[in-house]
């Protein structure tokens, strides 16, 4: 045995050291805070179809990447750092369900929700293939695939993006379908007179003839002009859902540039709507509603939902496009200790006749809000608090940022 001692010692050392390390890290990995939704009032059943998606991170660790998490009525689940989870990916629920339902169609496609469109008949996908060359002749192609759910037929084709003077980058922001037409809403970056210009562009493609039938710029801006900073943002409902109206918010900030910082002195917002069917573009004026106070939070069908916080209440104001005035607003009493006074502190989502509101941020010291409202009657159906499940357990200081509300069918 004497001559074997070295090997035995080394093998024992390896097993002990590596074993201890992985056992320890397995134990400490489970140490994420457990979050549950406590009912404050209403019917907890309303929470069942809800999946709240966010990212968790601790303040002390130097791990800048957050850990994805999902909160449901059953509690919280984290994307464990295990290899399998990282390889299979922890996708947003939208993508996960699309993948499960259409495994073969989803092959080789980018898994970003805004690149998909889904209704009862079709699942459409678009992507922009860019070949950037250093000589200024960038080439862009649309890659389009449409799955007809009735016969499982996939129709895929590639189209050249019509050349535009100075086209530098094209970003796909949304895919829509109306009858036989596919609409791609993009953000195009152009170089004009040595300036970067930003525009929202729509491309209309015929699904049957596989041809580009129309395209036009919706809004064009110069993002930085002297002390005027401008940006346009596409406001969406759920990323794969159908809508006839493309809603954009144009923000113009007048800024003061000091030596060390820039300060916004004035901010002007404008809502622009584009109707895919009529191809009409219009600036929307909502009577008696101040866009600076009221945040455009959600778009569903032809209704825009604005939110603002008044005292301890979240006020949601729906506005139907083309109407002469806003509809009756809903109020949700807020309970949590978070600073909710900013209109962006809660996000909302509407599905069928339910409106869901969830806090954007939770941390070690504050709870989050969840509320479900019937949009027909304005009645509060459920209200809850996202709280630490086991408060006796000691946790590091953490922050959770919510970014998506997913409502199951």
């Amino acid at each position: 045995m004497k001559k074997y001692w070295k090997s035995i010692a080394v093998v024992t050392g390896i097993i002990l050291s590596i074993g201890t390390f992985y056992v320890n890290s397995a134990i400490s990995a489970e140490n994420y805070p457990e979050l549950t939704v406590q009912t404050v009032n209403g019917n907890a059943q309303e929470m069942e179809s809800l999946i709240i998606e966010g990212a968790y991170r601790t303040l002390s660790s130097m791990n800048y990447l957050g850990t994805d998490l999902k909160i449901t009525a059953q509690g919280s689940s984290y994307n464990s750092p295990s290899l399998l989870d990282r390889v299979t990916g922890y996708y947003p629920t939208v993508i996960k369900e699309l993948k499960e339902a259409n495994r073969s169609f989803m092959r080789g496609k980018n898994l970003a929700a805004n690149q998909y469109f889904e209704d009862n008949q079709f699942l459409a996908y678009a992507n922009i293939d860019q070949k950037i060359s250093s000589f200024g002749s960038n080439k862009f192609n649309f890659e389009i695939a449409v799955l007809n759910k009735a016969d499982d037929e996939v129709n895929s084709f590639t189209l050249k993006v019509p050349a535009e003077e100075g086209l530098d980058h094209v970003f796909l922001e949304d895919v829509q379908m109306l009858e036989d037409k596919i609409y791609l809403i993009t953000r195009n970056m152009l170089i004009k007179n040595d300036d970067y210009n930003d525009e929202k562009h729509v491309y209309e493609i015929d699904r049957v003839s596989k041809k580009l039938t129309n395209h036009e710029a919706l809004v064009e801006i110069t993002p930085f002009k002297a002390n005027l900073h401008t940006h346009i943002q596409l406001v969406e409902g759920s990323p794969t859902a159908a809508t006839e109206q493309i809603i954009m918010v144009k923000t113009e900030d007048t800024v003061m540039e000091d030596t060390e910082s820039t300060r916004v002195t004035d901010s002007k917002k404008e809502i622009v709507a584009y109707n895919l069917a009529t191809k009409e573009i219009e600036t929307i004026n909502v009577p008696n509603l101040n866009f600076e106070e009221n945040q455009l939070s959600f778009v569903k069908d032809s209704t825009i939902y604005f939110t603002r916080v008044e005292g301890q209440e979240l006020v949601i104001t729906p506005y139907r496009l083309g109407a002469s005035q806003v509809e009756k607003d809903f109020k949700i009493q807020l309970h949590s200790t978070t600073e909710n006074d900013h209109p962006e502190s809660l996000m909302i989502s509407v599905k069928e006749d339910r409106l869901y509101a969830v806090s954007r941020q939770i941390d070690s010291n504050s709870n989050g809000e969840v509320a479900v409202v019937d949009i027909q009657t304005g009645k509060l159906l459920f209200q809850g608090q996202i709280t630490l499940g086991n408060s006796s357990e000691k946790h590091e200081d953490f922050e959770i940022y919510m970014h998506e509300i997913y409502v199951k069918q």
């Binding site: 090997s7 390896i14 390390f21 390889v87």
Partner: protein, 277 residues
């Protein structure tokens, strides 16, 4: 099996000295690193807080706390890891060539042992693996000790304590060596095992066919790696993302196992039929 274990033990005893030297270098250099870096930091505290009368809060805001990552990123910490890696890389070749080259041709004895010649291959690759994983295990054992040395030297308020997992999370390059989960550990070292087996096959090719064998060995390595990574190339250049990540991982594991089997089978054939003393 018994002969295999005996051979492993024999091979390991032959490298025990080198192994001990590598452990020693790692221990000494990293310990010096911890002490030097902590001292440097303490000196900065002294200069600013005690001599220049800076307040602690101000100091922490400007200089920041000392974290083990500052030590881990220093040359004192990295150099021994690099030395160990180089030593092992060198030894992958030496473990074969030292038996052929020189006055005493131990290769005669090894090849004549009353056991399958493939056991020699297995014993040598196991030894290399033991050495690599042994060094990693030692590093894992050493880091907490180094952290406690730092704790003993630097006062609490100037220190940002990390766990080994935090260290890995904030320094992804290090997790190639350690792997943040046991599954990853097996994948990384499985791949390493495969690469070493390919190199071994190439070395045996050289030992079998001389100059021609070098060419054959290089071609074999390129071919084996290409076959192994074929799904990745296809995914990237031909199929444009056709496979889902999990499928790609499984395919890679299967291809890896195929290439490993081929390498072992080919080495066995060469050792039996083509090897030249």
């Amino acid at each position: 099996m018994k002969n295999y274990l005996k051979l492993v033990n024999f091979e390991f005893n032959r490298i025990a000295k080198l192994f001990a030297v590598l452990l020693g270098i790692t221990f000494v250099m990293q310990m010096i690193g911890v002490i030097v870096k902590s001292r440097q930091y303490l000196n900065i505290i002294n200069e600013n807080v005690f001599e220049a009368m800076m307040s602690k809060a101000q100091f922490l805001e400007q200089v920041g706390q000392l974290s083990f990552i500052d030590i881990a990123r220093s040359i004192w910490f990295i150099a021994p890891i690099a030395i160990c890696a180089a030593g092992i890389g060198f030894y992958i070749f030496l473990i074969w060539y030292r038996d052929w080259i020189g006055k005493n041709t131990f290769a005669y004895r090894l090849l004549m042992l009353p056991t399958s010649r493939l056991n020699i291959f297995y014993a040598k690759i196991t030894t290399i693996l033991m050495m690599i994983i042994g060094l990693v295990a030692f590093q894992l054992f050493l880091i907490p000790i180094e952290m406690s040395v730092m704790k003993a030297m630097v006062p609490d308020e100037f220190r940002h304590d990390l766990t080994v997992n935090d260290l890995l999370a904030s320094w992804p390059e290090l997790s190639i060596i350690i792997g943040s989960s046991i599954g990853e550990f097996f994948l990384y070292y499985g791949s390493g095992f495969l690469v070493v087996s390919i190199l071994f096959t190439s070395i045996i090719l050289e030992r079998s066919f001389g100059w021609k064998g070098i060419m054959a060995g290089v071609s074999y390595s390129v071919l084996a790696i290409a076959v192994w990574l074929l799904p990745l190339f296809l995914q990237e250049f031909v199929l444009h993302g056709f496979f889902y990540p999990i499928e790609l991982l499984i395919l890679e594991i299967i291809m890896g196992l195929i290439v490993l089997t081929a390498s072992i089978w080919f080495s066995r054939f060469l050792l039996m039929k083509k090897i030249t003393i």
